[in-house]
């Protein structure tokens, strides 16, 4: 039987990226995937005939441009289409919109609060400063602060220097920002509850916390630290759906001779004498390689596909305690006509954008309270993205695909998830949208409802957590996934992690995969071919 140099478990975008770099370096790489399609949570699937669904992740900003260029992803078919313009509808028939144009944005904010319109500049400047700091660290391996190795010390110095470069006052400001709640942070700039709510949406997406919970300000940052072609904070859509990203990376992998095997679920990572030697598949096959890279989340990796006796007891405990609570649902909808939102004038440009339905931070927090009690939110936060308006490949002319991201939806629900409950959850979402769009329900051709339960079952993300582990400070940087394991190495020789459960965390960034490949190549004493971002300057 053929022996590989490296096996990557899971063909998510990070697994593919890690594999692509290993293959590019000249290694013989195999990616094994349990599903009959690749991409994990960055997929495009024809769930209903004639409509292409980005049925998990749905927008793109965090994908590192250096990887995009380095792996020639454009050549492999990837095109990121920038989009903008989110409109938030309020219950009283008004709305608050986001414009790309500064003057227009200012006028729009002034409709709600002149004071806040003036504060926006200060807010954006501060947030951008923090984003640009964090961007330095995305494509780097976190230092181990307990280590005295020259590499760790020099990495700490690098970090220290980047902090220092912000200036004394901004260091204090940034350390404050890191641990604050989104509500407190936003209240330092804005008075208007609607504006605060609108700005707070990024702070709770995928997060098992509410806007009032300390730590959510960082999550806000996590959603503005990406870019589209260097425009920091911008978001885009992958033409052909999010699967186009995975497909392009897979294209790069194949170009360099890597293989992908689908329908190949891994039962166990094989370890002997604290050295990894391959994987055993669910069908009984064994595939051997001295390097095994897991794209699965850390909890799944260390509690499901390794023998408990092969890893240190305290690591098993850490994996058990790893916080990966699912809090988000997805309702993907095929429409045979354009939904009408009467609050916006006919033909208004904003009708092309995304939609939200919020009034206040309180309303968002109440949605979180439901989740805390093991219920889905009866008044959920919805981010509704009309992907097909920007990307004609997703639906035929006249038809529409909309992706609805919902916060909050629990993984554990009283009595467990059933098809009836799933359907009721989907109805809650449709009801919410219908309050603002009278014809919405009648246009529905098909809808796919995904609770954290389905996301776990199909994609394999424990509890359906979209970030492969919560983005709280106890699980970020050198704490991600656990202290002592932040440099992508597992406990056994030859074992690595490459998923979003490792630094820099969730989102379709491909950085985790690239960073892990860099560490692997270093251990193999091969030249580094993985780009190291150095921020924007």
């Amino acid at each position: 039987m053929k022996k590989y140099d490296a096996i990557v478990i899971g063909a998510g975008h990070n697994g593919l990226t890690s594999a692509a770099y290993l293959a590019k370096s000249g290694l013989d790489v195999l990616v094994v995937e349990k599903n009959d399609y690749i991409g994990g949570a960055a997929v495009s699937r024809e769930i209903h005939e004639g409509w292409l669904y980005s049925n998990c992740s749905y927008v793109c900003s965090l994908l590192r441009q250096s990887i995009h260029r380095d792996l020639n992803l454009t050549k492999h078919g990837l095109m990121i289409v920038p989009y903008s313009g989110t409109t938030n509808f309020t219950r009283d028939g008004n709305y608050l919109a986001e414009y790309g144009d500064h003057a227009q944005q200012y006028r729009e904010l002034c409709r709600h609060s002149v004071r806040d319109a003036n504060a926006m500049h200060r807010f954006e400047a501060d947030l951008m400063r923090y984003a640009k700091l964090i961007r330095h660290f995305l494509m780097r391996t976190p230092a181990d602060p307990t280590s005295f190795k020259p590499r760790d010390i020099s990495e700490l110095i690098f970090m220290g220097k980047k902090f220092w470069d912000m200036g004394e006052d901004q260091i204090y400001e940034f350390t404050r920002f890191l641990t604050m709640s989104a509500a407190d942070f936003l209240s330092e700039y804005f008075e208007n509850d609607l504006i605060k709510a609108f700005m707070a949406t990024s702070s709770i997406i995928g997060t098992a916390l509410g806007v009032y919970s300390p730590g959510t300000a960082y999550v806000l940052l996590h959603h503005v630290m990406g870019d589209v072609d260097g425009a920091v904070g911008s978001w885009g859509l992958a033409r052909g759906g999010m699967g186009a990203i995975s497909d392009a990376i897979a294209g790069a992998l194949k170009e360099h001779g890597g293989e992908i095997r689908m329908n190949a679920e891994v039962q166990q990572i094989l370890i002997k004498d604290n050295t990894t030697y391959g994987v055993a598949l669910a069908n009984g096959d064994e595939i051997h390689a001295p390097i095994v890279v897991s794209n699965l989340d850390p909890k799944r990796t260390f509690t499901k596909i390794v023998d408990k006796n092969d890893i240190p007891a305290d690591l098993y405990k850490k994996a058990k305690n790893f916080k990966i609570r699912g809090s988000s649902g997805k309702v993907n909808i095929a429409l045979n006509g354009r939904p009408d939102f009467p609050s916006l004038p006919e033909g208004h440009m904003l009708r092309n954008g995304s939609f939200q339905f919020l009034d206040s931070l309180e309303r968002m927090e109440k949605a979180y309270d439901c989740w805390k009690h093991g219920r889905w939110s009866d008044d959920p936060f919805i981010e509704m993205t009309q992907s097909s308006v920007w990307d004609p490949t997703m639906a035929a002319p006249g038809n529409y695909f909309v992706s609805c991201f919902i916060q909050y939806c629990p993984a554990d629900i009283e009595g467990g998830w059933t098809p009836e409950k799933r359907e009721a959850f989907g109805e809650t979402v449709v009801d919410q949208i219908s309050q603002y769009s009278p014809n919405f329900r009648d246009l529905i051709v098909h809808k796919e409802v995904r609770t954290p339960f389905e996301i776990e079952q199909e994609v394999g993300l424990t509890e359906g957590n979209i970030f492969q582990g919560e983005l709280t400070l106890d699980q970020l940087m050198f704490n991600r996934p656990f202290p002592g394991y932040s440099q992508y190495r597992g406990p056994a020789k030859g074992m690595y992690l490459c998923g979003s459960g490792s630094h820099p965390g969730g989102g379709v960034s491909a950085a985790c995969g690239a960073n892990s490949a860099r560490e692997i190549l270093m251990d193999l004493k091969r030249p580094n071919i993985v780009p190291e971002d150095d921020g924007d300057e």
Binding site: Y172, T179, D184, L209, P214, E362, F478, P483
Partner: protein
């Protein structure tokens, strides 16, 4: 022109008096001005009903033995009624578990074993932070050797924890109380009881990340009855402030009651004195404010004397109090379900979820029917607070938002009804023993003790407002941007609780300046 003082301290709270004590010991002429007709602020023991006495702060977990010996407080009348109270968590169904800084009773063997490990881990963490509390907060860019030593020492202490403990430290410091509890224990009552201290006094609940562990570590800095002990002062907390006042007075400090400061007098950008409400102006070389930072900067000093960004940094401080205090005058000792007789400190909260539920109400400017609370009956140990056979019940109640919808005047009665109803569930028949009661909402604390927002700690105690960010950079070393004007209250480093360290730190900063 009145006579010249070295320092005027605005507010005779325990930090102001501690600051006065240290300055006076250094032969400085100090005048303490107090707006109320009593000293001690929230630490004062007051007669809340004829013959019944209580203080808002009732126990002394953060007390510093160095302060007590430096200022000879024992000589000046400070003594403990109980050295170390045990804490009993009750669920109202007859179950109880009891713990102190060393051991726990009423839980299974696993939890007992975990408890020991947990306590020793926390004590290691507390030891790392201990040297920071009683020393001025360092500045990052000040370039002063002293600050660099503080950083280096802190870094060294973290590193010498050992690799595994250091890793737990950098992770756990950000955990919410709930995760700390879930990682260590199974017993819901133990989790609820232990998690209480992580959050009380702040805008936090068991699920709130980032700030809970820091709060617990601040509590563990106290060493009057050993780290992790819970001492009960004799005569209420007032005896502690009286001892502070006596100590300061013995060294020559003057204290004037009923003297409200209207504003700090600024001449040529330097604070040179204070103007009282009656128009009298008193001059001093230094003006030290024991008031909270918002009152100090925005009311006493005035935004006109501050740079706009600094003003903004003060304005944004979170100062909304969430804790109410209830004092009950009892004619008999109540019986708590699950205990043969009431003892020590009792925490009424069956589970962390129960506490979280109460917090959830407060987010929407309301309050829960089932209120979690901490109950102490100081008269069990201290006969000076009520007549023989009578008792005082002192309850700290979460969560009572300062800005309750419609204002507290509208809600006092219904809140009190919820308090009594909750107490009845845990101690049936208690209602029949009540002779009189006092409810202090955050609005009352604000109004009676002149603390903006009625916040226990003069401002949220959290990682984002801790150490060099307390109350904000530019004012974290007791000095402020206005020359001659200093802070010595709980809003400055290291923070709240009856600790006195903020006052001592301010005094040390001033004494060092004169050297």
């Amino acid at each position: 022109m009145s006579k010249q003082y070295d320092a005027i301290i605005i507010g005779a709270g325990h930090n102001g008096l501690a600051c006065a004590g240290y300055l006076a010991r250094d032969n400085k002429k100090v005048l303490v001005l107090e707006a109320n007709n009593f000293i001690g602020g929230m630490a004062a023991t007051r007669e809340f009903a004829p013959g019944f006495h209580a203080s808002v702060a009732h126990t002394l977990p953060q007390g510093q033995s160095a302060l007590i010996s430096d200022l000879s407080l024992k000589k000046h009348g400070f003594e403990l009624a109980a050295k170390n109270l045990d804490t009993t968590a009750l669920d109202g169904e007859g179950n109880a578990i009891t713990f102190n800084g060393k051991s726990v009773k009423g839980v299974d063997a696993n939890d007992q074993k975990s408890y020991g490990e947990y306590q020793s881990l926390l004590k290691k963490f507390a030891k790392v932070l201990k040297p920071t509390w009683n020393k001025r907060a360092p500045r990052i860019g000040g370039g002063e050797i002293k600050d660099m030593i503080t950083f280096a020492k802190f870094g060294w202490d973290v590193r010498t924890l050992g690799r595994d403990t250091m890793r737990e430290f950098t992770r756990m410091i950000f955990l919410p109380a709930q995760d700390m509890m879930d990682e260590h224990f199974d017993n819901p009552l133990l989790k609820a009881g232990l998690s209480w201290d992580y959050n009380v006094g702040n805008i936090l609940a068991p699920r709130s990340p980032n700030n809970a562990v820091l709060n617990q570590l601040l509590k563990l800095s106290g060493d009057v009855s050993g780290h992790g002990g819970l001492p009960l002062p004799k005569g209420g907390m007032g005896s502690f402030v009286n001892a502070l006042a006596n100590s300061a007075k013995t060294s020559g400090t003057e204290i004037r009651l009923n003297t409200r400061v209207k504003r700090v007098v600024i001449e040529n950008h330097v604070a040179v004195g204070v103007e009282l409400e009656d128009g009298e102006i008193i001059h001093a070389k230094r003006i030290i404010s024991n008031a909270d930072p918002k009152t100090s900067f925005l009311k006493l000093l005035g935004a006109a004397n501050l740079e706009i960004q600094f003003t903004n940094r003060i304005n944004r401080l979170r100062t909304e109090g969430l804790v109410a205090k209830v004092h009950l005058a009892l004619n008999a000792l109540p019986n708590f379900k699950g205990m043969t007789k009431p003892e020590g400190r009792m925490i009424l909260a069956p589970s962390m979820q129960y506490i979280e539920n109460a917090y959830d109400q407060s987010k929407y400017r309301s309050y829960a029917e089932d209120l979690p609370m901490e109950v102490v009956i100081p008269t069990l140990h201290d006969k000076t607070l009520a007549a023989e056979g009578k008792h005082v019940l002192s309850a700290t109640i979460q969560y009572a938002p300062r800005d309750v919808e419609g204002g507290w005047d509208k809600h006092r009665d219904s809140f009190m009804k919820n308090v009594i109803a909750t107490l009845e569930k845990f101690a049936p028949g208690i209602g029949d023993c009540i002779e009189a009661s006092e409810l202090l909402t955050p609005a009352d604390l604000e109004q009676q003790f002149n603390v903006e927002g009625g916040h226990w700690h003069h401002g949220e105690f959290a990682i984002d407002s801790w150490w060099m960010n307390r109350p904000t950079y530019g004012a974290s070393q007791s000095k402020t941007p206005v020359s001659g004007f200093y802070l010595c209250g709980a809003g400055s480093h290291p923070g709240g609780g009856i600790m006195g360290a903020a006052g001592a730190n301010a005094a040390r900063a001033i004494i060092a300046e004169d050297k």
